[in-house]
């Protein structure tokens, strides 16, 4: 019984990490059908941004890095979109291979720029310690995830840009004939989606390694959240992340880490049998 109570906050904190890494993907994947395998490397870029900012921000680098990493990763995404991905709309599977190539190049680039070994990002003093079994840095990540969701929700529903984004997501052609510059919307989406990866990267420096392989550790999990949640669905990603986080923490508590991962995979595969389009489906009348 105690275990059930104890694992709940842990599960939610895992969920927060999953949500952060997957949030950006839901949009690039959902709106544009782009399977961005380089998303993990944008996360890595965010983490290295925090590392570099330590030079003058010292231990507060993590905080300073949040907006900077958003822009850095966002611009990287924008460049990728402009240079390559925009030629690939409507060919989601090709983008997968293309962006995988990009991710390989970025990994090697990180290795050449920062060296193969992991680098250290020191957490701010005020994140040391915690309440009960929940450390402050987990709470920080949780707050960051909630903040990101609220910001995205606000952007999508309260700004004209966001509403255009939704329009393109629902029906690209119709949006285009209604006078929306879909190219511009795509750029914006990609900027924001990649920028969110940068924020996730900064957050991950608090709990994990910072090295060239960083992205590869998270990318599969991120995709699973997106697939289980449904494309471009904020609430889908939210619920999927929460469910997978809790499942992970309980499964690991009662079995072990390896088996927990397998259980999560199996559950997702089984779940997609019941709801092949994920939790929430974008209602559309388009036919493939």
């Amino acid at each position: 019984m105690e275990a059930i109570v104890n694992q709940l906050p842990i599960g939610l904190s895992i969920a927060a990490v999953l949500l952060l890494i997957a949030l950006g993907l839901t949009f690039t994947f959902g709106q544009m059908g782009v399977i961005n395998m380089a998303h993990g490397e944008f996360i890595m870029a965010g983490a290295y941004t925090a590392y570099l900012l330590q030079g003058w921000a010292g231990r507060q680098a993590v905080l300073v890095a949040l907006p900077v990493a958003f822009v850095v990763a966002g611009v990287m995404g924008l460049i990728l979109e402009r240079v390559a991905i925009r030629h690939f709309y409507g060919r989601p599977l090709d983008t997968l291979l293309l962006t995988w190539g990009v991710s390989l190049v970025l990994q090697q680039l990180a290795r050449d720029l920062f060296g193969a070994p992991n680098v250290q990002v020191r957490a701010p003093e005020w994140l040391q310690g915690g309440v009960g079994i929940l450390p402050y840095n987990r709470l920080f990540i949780f707050a960051l995830a909630v903040g990101s969701v609220v910001a995205i929700w606000g952007y999508m529903n309260r700004t004209s840009q966001g509403r255009r984004m939704q329009a393109v997501m629902q029906n690209r052609q119709l949006a285009a004939v209604s006078g929306i510059n879909t190219g511009r919307v795509d750029q914006r989406t990609f900027f924001i989606g990649s920028g969110l990866a940068g924020i996730a990267g900064v957050a991950l420096t608090l709990i994990g390694p910072v090295g060239p392989a960083l992205g590869t550790y998270y990318i599969v999990d991120a995709f699973l959240v997106v697939v289980a949640g449904g494309l471009g669905q904020l609430r889908g990603a939210l619920i999927a992340a929460a469910a997978l986080g809790l499942l992970n923490s309980y499964a690991e508590f009662w079995t072990n880490a390896s088996l927990a991962k397998v259980i999560v995979f199996v559950v997702i595969i089984a779940f997609l049998q019941i709801r092949p389009q994920g939790l929430f489906v974008l209602k559309a009348r388009a036919l493939t």
């Binding site: 104890n6 694992q7 842990i10 904190s13 895992i14 990490v17 090697q108 290795r111 193969a116 070994p117 992991n118 680098v119 250290q120 990002v121 020191r122 957490a123 994140l127 040391q128 310690g129 915690g130 079994i133 450390p135 402050y136 840095n137 987990r138 608090l206 709990i207 994990g208 390694p209 910072v210 090295g211 392989a213 590869t216 550790y217 998270y218 992970n248 923490s249 690991e252 508590f253 072990n256 880490a257 390896s258 927990a260 991962k261």
Partner: protein, 410 residues
Amino acid sequence: MRNSAWRIGAAIAVLATGLAACGGEPSTTTGGTAAASGGGDTIKVGLLHSLSGTMAISEVTVRDAELLAVEEINKAGGVLGKQLVPVAEDGASDWPTFAEKATKLIAQDKVATVFGGWTSASRKAMLPVFEKRKALLWYPVQYEGLESSPYIFYTGATTNQQIVPGLDYLKEKGKKKIFLVGSDYVFPRTANKIIKAYAAANGMQVLGEEYTPLGHTEYSTLVNKVVAAKPDAVFNTLNGDSNVAFFKQLKSAGVTAEQMPVMSVSVAEEEVKGIGVDNIAGHLVAWNYYQTTENPANAKFVEAFKAKYGADRVTSDPMEAGYNAVYLWAEAVKKAGTTEVEAVKKAAGGIALERPEGTVTIDGENQHMYKTARIGVIEPDGQIKEVWNSGKPIKPDPYLKTYSWAGGLT
């Protein structure tokens, strides 16, 4: 076909890239036969480590140390009057690639010996290649024991030179209840079997045993389990990046080295930098060598290494073992008067050299080394301070035959 011309241009570009690959090929083929180890005035030696992929982080440092040794030996006149020519290959963190590249080094480059490997899996993959082709491999990393190939020299520690002393130390400090944490592969599983047998015979209690997949980064549940079990100490056989996540999350859960020290066997000076000293200072490690080990040979090694690779680089146990391997092989070749494998093997037994870790002697019987075990504590400056050592080099015993409690293990 509006832009056919454009596409054809692209075709040529892509094909040219492909041809570049083919064009490079013959040079290696012909180069391989040019200098067989017997003739000419050079001797080729193979260096086979992962230069790409997840293991590159560790293995590149060992290759650097081996290159340094080769350079030093060449400067001092080479071996048998011949200069050593290192041939580096990339194992790419992929075990079948190790087997393939080992074959290439032996069959095509005709190297006199190979220095290489890090993970047990890569060694296991290379072992049949070396045994079938009767070639020599020098393996520089501590490992799980239970192996003694006639064509491999093991210059890292076997279990009775690292894990057993680590346990002795914990026992001496009155740590009776321990928790085992490891990555899910051969070394941790075998190490933990040994630890459990040791614990059963020495009145220690193993409170839990947890494995995580390689590359795992989410340790909150595991840390929760460890904290709930309230052990006196944790024995950590995690590998690579997982250590970073584990120590960061252990630290933020409020666990200190005073209440619950973690004894690690795969964390050396190089890894401490990535984990962050804040997160790991005060915890324990078990090795045979530290950068701080006091010894004239070590002072020289550290100085030469920093001069060649930069003052911010550190030296570690596997690097030192790789560095030693080159010297030990060179010594054996000098003694044998030839690079011929069987003669070198025969000459190697009993060779003793003063190395940075102290005296290292080759045990001719199992081709492991006599090594001094050292327990260290991680200092706030990232260096490791020795707090205990075995006094004299320990005879290698890969099958733990001389330990009564280990009877059921092999």
